[in-house]
Amino acid sequence: MIAHLIQFCYLIATGLFVLALKWLSHPTTARRGVLAGVAGMTAAIAGTLLFPEIVDYRWIVVALVAGTVIGIPLSRVPLTAVPQRTALALAFGGLAVGLVGTAKYMLWRHQPGELTTFRTVAIAIEVLLGFLTLTGALMAAGKLQEVIPTRPITYRNQNLVTFLLLAIAIGSVVLLIRDPSQWQYFAVLVALALTFGVLLILPIGGADMPTVIALLNSYAGLAAVAMGFVLQNKLLITAGALDGSSGFILSLIMCKAMNRSFTNVLFGAFGQVQTAAAAGEQGIYKSATTDDAALMLENASKVVIVPGYGMAVSQAQHRVKDLYDVLTQRGIEVKFAVHPVAGRMPGHMNVLLAEANLPYDCLAEMEEVNPDMPQVDVVLVIGANDVVNPAARTDEKSPIYGMPIIDADKARACIAIKRSKNPGFAGIDNQLYFMDNTLMVFGDAKQVVQGILSALKGEEGSGH
């Protein structure tokens, strides 16, 4: 009876998870999707707690409470830190799977017969994926937080090394199957998994981290699937598979948005080749004050604002909203051009501007804006760099060549806000900044925009 009840809960949970994904893929139903997800997870946990095997609830309760206590503050991080948050979450997930796999192994090790070949392989995969996700996600978080150098780090014949380690891993799995009680093979496996996670991320540039996160997400899902095979739990399998495939397809979609091939992201060591090239020609910047910027904007009739990662860093979105209001009040037509990969997460800019109460239907997509760029009087580039880098159109050797960009260089004039002469995430120079009709306003995006606002309001601008 109980058994049926449990299975029923699991069936419901599975259905709800599917609906959650389905609904989340449309803005109108997205929030319902979250509800479905929560309901599904509740059903899953409730069903699990019903298992008669569970005799001792103390630790479970403690852990659940602890998790909630840690989880709530984690959900309050600033939106710029969302990518890191997700990465961290995946690390936790990987850890959990890895630990369960290890514990299960150690339990069954002493019970001959339990560790059938099938189970051993399943556990091996579970542990591999779990711990790989752990370290990989931690690395990704580090790169996004820029505590680890975001530049891709490569070493000679790395692929050789990787394959060697892979061979060792497979070897130890085989040995483990031969004699499951030999825990040292298992230990080797764990160690290798942890190493893999690091090696997987090292050669990938920080700019590709979101793609990597989506991929790690899919690994985490597959790890759950493996656990499901170990525990013969269909809920784990379905939920895990949903996750695995959706994460995978999402990372593919993101690659396409940057028009990079998948393999290129994983092994391309994107962003190192051209650090050399970057050193090359250095143009001269035309730098200006916030007042100059304000003046240009006042006299424009068509303005396009291109937000980028910089806006996120300096949390300038609210100021930008104010600027939008002031300009539109003066009858100036203002459009936002949001590049699909602006920022550090897909839809990053949308989220930020939405946070600033900018209705999402006044954000234009790149494809709509580019055609009438020539008619635009002023493009205001706020902390965006790679996504407005003409090299993507012109310079075949550039690593971002072919990536669709916002043609800020084709507008009548351009104002670019950034703090320094440093390159963007791809680590390459941007000719846009050296063009005659481009004015640079150096400084933190938030302060600069504030300055422009004050100047527009005719008060003392912070710009001089």
Partner: protein, 99 residues
């Protein structure tokens, strides 16, 4: 376990995989970030396994590991769902109500 059982698990696996592909295939760009945090939360379904392990009374080590696993997964679930909802709250149409 019985062979039939294994095969039905494989069936379930394949079908769920297909669904994942189909459902996400045409997700709007706007939602990539929320989608990632939601799926990260769902991937914490591993909590099911952790709870089972923590509940059946085994040696302290096992229980501790399992408890840690439960805690870690729960962290994901809570933060994942909360932050996703927080992000989605912000999306609104011009006519839409203010959050």
């Amino acid at each position: 376990m019985s062979g039939a059982e294994v095969w039905s698990m494989l069936f379930v696996f394949m079908l769920a995989g297909f669904i994942g592909f189909e459902v996400i295939r045409n997700v709007s760009r706007l939602l990539h970030t929320p989608l990632m945090s939601l799926t990260s939360a769902i991937s914490a379904i591993a909590i099911v396994g952790s709870i089972l392990l923590a509940g059946e009374n085994h040696d302290t080590l096992t229980t501790t590991l399992a408890a840690i696993a439960v805690g870690a997964s729960m962290t994901n679930i809570v933060s994942g769902f909360l932050i996703t909802d927080r992000m989605l709250k912000m999306f609104k149409r011009r006519e839409g109500p203010k959050a």
